[in-house]
């Protein structure tokens, strides 16, 4: 009966500790009853092949154990399509960027940035980036799913709220504001550490030189990040939609807009000086990099401008803070 014992051991491994002994004892008893009945009908002990066939008919140990367990999922059927769509887009973008990067840095710009000149580095960047995004989105969607499940279980949701947030709108708004603020604090802290540790002027060993505007803005950007962290910390510790808090946000966003304006006026932002690549290729690479910088700065600028206008309308436009999008967590 070694086969039977191994099978039962395998089932045991998938079961929760507190139910293992009970379930496996009952399963063993059922299997032994069936084996005995077969043996009585055949008038001989079951051959190993016959025993294996009998166990195979019962199913894989994992499926057998699964039937005893409550159905649980990290991301439910309602969230799954959005999750898959988001992951597909994120991974698709990463793969396209990695492919484009590998074509540029292993082709025409080979040697411009030595560390990026091998095909394998792009493979690992694409794989690492994709896995990181899949993990991140799994975590985010899992938390959102958990939030909605809890809202349903506790009955703390309101049909008037299309997002199915809890009925206690104020509490929900505070929770949302706090969560956003914590995420912003972490992001800005990382940016500040990166900004202060990485020399912002030149990376000659990589064949890329940043123009002097970055040096001029080194401390103003650090000041902006520190101010932003301060306001976000206040949001995290004590969520509020008071006029004072709105004015603080306005001040920080205004500073961001000024910095972006100065940067936009100071083009170009990057020069490619790698001696190992032809001058024409270096110029082309420089143009691409500056175009990417322009696009990035414009996108960030539009984002901050929209945010600034919204904050200004809330601070001076007379709309009730409690019904504004940020206050309701939308």
């Amino acid at each position: 009966m070694q086969v039977l014992d191994r099978y039962l051991d395998a089932v045991r491994g998938y079961l929760p500790r507190d139910q293992r002994a009970d379930i496996v004892a009952e399963l063993a008893e059922d299997l032994r009853s069936e084996i005995e009945e077969r043996q009585a009908a055949l008038g001989r002990p079951l051959a190993e092949d016959e025993l294996r066939a009998l166990l195979k008919r019962r199913g894989h140990p994992m499926s057998v154990a699964e039937r005893y367990l409550p159905s649980r999922h990290l991301i439910g059927p309602a969230m799954l399509p959005a999750y898959l769509r988001t992951v597909r887009i994120a991974v698709g973008v990463i793969l396209v960027l990695a492919l484009a990067g590998s074509l540029v840095f292993t082709g025409p710009a080979r040697g411009a940035v030595p560390v990026l000149s091998g095909a394998w580095i792009w493979f690992w960047l694409a794989l690492g980036g994709s896995l990181a995004y899949v993990g991140l989105f799994t975590l985010i969607f899992g938390l959102v799913e958990r939030h909605y499940r809890r809202a349903e279980e506790t009955g703390r949701w309101d049909p008037r709220d299309p997002e199915g947030l809890t009925a206690d709108v104020d509490a929900s708004a505070r929770l949302s504001q706090r969560a956003h603020a914590v995420a912003d604090v972490v992001t800005d802290l990382l940016l500040l550490v990166l900004w202060l540790r990485v020399h912002p002027v030149a990376m000659p060993e990589m064949g890329i030189v940043l123009t002097p505007v970055w040096l001029a803005l080194h401390w103003p950007v650090a000041l902006y990040l520190a101010a932003s962290i301060g306001v976000e910390l206040a949001d995290a510790l004590r969520p509020s939609s008071s006029r004072g808090r709105l004015l603080a946000h306005l001040w920080v966003d205004g500073l961001a807009l000024v910095l972006i304006g100065v940067l936009l006026a100071a083009a170009p932002w990057v020069r490619v000086t790698a001696p190992s690549i032809p001058a024409e290729t270096a110029r082309m690479l420089g143009r691409w990099m500056n175009s990417a910088c322009l696009l990035g700065l414009l996108s960030i600028g539009v984002y901050y401008l929209v945010r600034f206008v919204r904050q200004a309308l809330r601070a001076f436009g007379g709309s009730s803070p409690a019904t504004t999008p940020q206050a309701t967590g939308q």
């Binding site: 379930i23 004892a25 399963l27 008893e29 059922d30 009853s33 019962r58 499926s63 039937r67 005893y68």
Partner: protein, 119 residues
Amino acid sequence: MSPDLFENLRLELRRGCVIVAVMAALRSEQYGYTLRKALAEQGMDIDEGTLYPLLRRLETQGLLASEWREEDKRNKRFYRLSADGKQVLKQLLAEWETIDSSLRGILKENRRASARSVS
């Protein structure tokens, strides 16, 4: 029509009936293997992967009671319907009667309508 579709619908139709059948069979005490055989003999084949988790669930819900006892030199778990289980079974059987009678009425009406359209 795919065979899977029919199989899924058949299983869905059977799901509730299996619970009633198990509860009805456990008006007298039985252990899992004999219960499965008894139900199979009555034409209600339930595979063990469905039966044992169902027995545990019904016991957790207080509808069944169980005890481990030695029989034929082997430890077996015997199940029987609890007092709550008897009450719920009574209600379920009444519900079953209502569903059965409604369904028969609908089918009878359909047969009459088809006969009228043929003539």
